[in-house]
């Protein structure tokens, strides 16, 4: 982590798929940079030989029986869709 690293708010907001107003951009980049500055504190800690921890307990691949189970009925699964037609979700056109 370099000390001068600062957040490119345009780029990250785009990756996060969130449209921001100009006011939000300037406010958020200021706040996020001060949070990042605080987070850089972790550099003080030597972690060279430390295993990363993804999960509190040692649980590895958890398998279930390969048996079909009943899922939600289509109408139940679709009832919260903002737009639907013929048991499908209507989305903007994604291919030309």
């Amino acid at each position: 982590m370099s000390e001068e690293r600062s957040i490119d708010i345009e780029k990250v907001a785009d990756l996060a798929r969130i449209a921001l107003t100009n006011d939000e951009k300037s406010k958020l980049s200021g706040q996020l940079n001060s949070i990042l500055e605080y987070i850089n504190k972790l550099n003080e800690l030597d972690t060279d030989d430390v295993e990363p921890m993804a999960h509190p307990h040692s649980v590895f691949n958890v398998w279930r029986e390969d048996k079909a189970e009943t899922g939600l009925p289509i109408q139940e699964a679709l009832k919260n869709a903002p737009k639907q037609r013929q048991n499908m979700i209507v989305v903007p056109k994604v291919v030309e």
Partner: protein, 490 residues
């Protein structure tokens, strides 16, 4: 204090139901009346369905008449944080993006409560997607602390803690990712438990940070918290991180009064760096009480404590940015209509811009950044390594102590608006609670006194899967004090 039903604990109500001196319908009516009387000022609820609750109560009473009662919780109302999935009920996470969402299924803990006959009671306010420590980040409204309506109830399970403190529900479920059960319990003068990670299935809990989230009970006393924990605990094939381990009878274990020599650790990092000892004075009094009961106290060190907040805000935001990617305006969330028919990426961007509040945007963007190409090793991987060290601090400490005591929060409830413009200051206020989530250990917050009329919580941290031990330790204090019988005036 009157003798009205809404002031009674779940255990007392359960006894009244068993003896036949009251019906579940009468109990539910009492809570509906209470909510109608006080929730205009407390604002703990996002919504409640009185008719549905009465219908559940009626079915419970019919079971009882036939001698088919389902146990201690049958007919008892249980309030629910608004991030738990109940079939055909709203699930808003206090977010605009889910304002019209109706859950198509029951989460595992809800299935378990239904199987025990509990009356599912209302949807309780929270910080949006559980991101916050004050319930001020709710996309619906701000909840007030029942002890002082100008103050925050804490968060993110602020609605759950305020509802129990205001006697609008005898018990409630919350969720705890970095202190979101314990800190509001502390601020509202009630009992809150974050179980060991893996004790309770997360299936049907709207995910915030999956490696940290746990569902747990909020109650007015330890007996009720133990009762509710028993109802929701256990392995679940729908949550691969739930652990297949025996579930003790917590209620019985918590009531165990047999002699045992307890050794308690006091971590110097939690006490020496406390900026304002006067703000947590009742915690010192509680420690003196335990000494008088023959408890042995040891000064311990959790040397990596100062890195917990930074590690937490990397891990939690990274996991949140991934979990919240599903709220995209396509499948089951509000869609920004003006952009319909345009580029699908614009639909995502605009739906999320309109649907998410400021704190959620901040955390999703921070989480996206720490996971983005070139930064992963420096932030996320680094934080996961720090997490290993934080857990090993606890493992070392628990070699010589049975439990650890700390304040739950550095201060009692603050006035509303204090942290509005300074998110980092709000993050730092979680300092005493987040380590337990990183380490995966259980933590209890227990009311232990007041500072200027505001409740203060004692936090008791235990070994993994030893919830019954921290209940037992807490119970010794609870029995000798009257805090569980004190209510805010509303």
């Amino acid at each position: 204090m009157g003798d009205e039903l809404h002031f009674k604990s779940a255990g007392e109500l359960s006894d009244l139901l068993s003896s036949g001196s009251v019906s579940s319908v009468e109990i539910v009516k009492a809570f509906i009346n209470r909510v109608e009387a006080v929730d205009n000022s407390v604002k703990a609820f996002n919504s409640y369905d009185a008719e549905d609750a009465l219908a559940q109560a009626k079915v419970s009473d019919e079971r009882r008449v036939k001698g088919e009662t389902l146990g201690e919780l049958d007919g008892i109302p249980v309030g629910l944080k608004d991030n738990l999935a109940v079939k055909d009920q709203p699930l808003t996470c206090s977010s605009k993006i889910l304002e019209s969402f109706i859950s198509p299924y029951d989460g595992t803990c809800i299935q378990k409560l239904k199987a025990k006959g509990a009356v599912l009671w209302g949807r309780l306010n929270m910080d949006e997607f559980a991101m916050g420590s004050s319930t001020e980040n709710s996309g619906t409204h701000t909840t007030s602390n029942p002890w002082d309506l100008e103050r925050i109830p804490g968060g993110s399970s602020g609605g759950s803690a305020a509802a129990v403190a205001a006697c609008e529900a005898p018990v409630a479920l919350g969720s705890d990712t970095g202190g979101s059960i314990r800190q509001p319990a502390s601020h509202c003068g009630v009992v809150g438990l974050k179980p060991t990670y893996g004790r309770v299935s997360r299936f049907g809990l709207a995910a915030f940070a999956s490696s940290l989230d746990q569902i747990g009970p909020i109650a007015r006393n330890i007996d009720d918290a133990a009762l509710l924990l028993n109802a929701i605990s256990g392995y679940d094939s729908h949550d691969s991180t739930s652990i297949d381990i025996a579930v003790p009878n917590f209620r019985k274990a918590a009531a165990d009064v047999s002699d045992r020599k307890w050794t308690i650790g006091l971590p110097k990092e939690y006490f020496e760096e406390s900026s304002d000892p006067a703000a947590i004075m009742p915690v010192f009094d509680a420690i003196e009480f335990y000494k008088s009961q023959g408890f042995e106290f040891k000064n311990i060190s959790l040397p990596r404590t100062e890195y917990a907040v930074a590690s937490y805000y990397i891990i939690a935001t990274a996991e949140a940015s991934s979990n919240l990617a599903r709220y995209d305006g396509i499948r089951y969330t509000s869609r920004a209509e003006d952009f319909d028919g345009k580029d699908s990426i614009d639909v995502y961007r605009q739906s999320r811009a309109l649907g998410f509040g400021e704190e959620v945007k901040r955390r999703v963007i921070l989480g996206t950044y720490v996971l983005s190409s070139g930064y992963y090793d420096a932030y996320y991987l680094k934080a996961q390594k720090c997490r290993t060290l934080i857990r090993s601090d606890f493992e070392n400490a628990f070699e010589s102590v049975d439990a650890i005591m700390t304040p739950t929060s550095p201060t009692p409830a603050t006035l509303k608006g204090v942290h509005a413009e300074d998110p980092l200051a709000m993050y730092l206020s979680d300092i005493y609670t987040i380590s337990a989530n990183l380490a995966g250990i259980p933590g209890l917050s227990l009311p232990c006194g007041y500072v200027e009329g505001l409740p203060v919580g004692l936090q008791i941290l235990g070994k993994p899967f030893k919830e019954e031990e921290i209940f037992r330790v807490g119970r010794i204090f609870e029995k000798a004090h009257a805090f569980k019988d004190e209510y805010p005036e509303l």
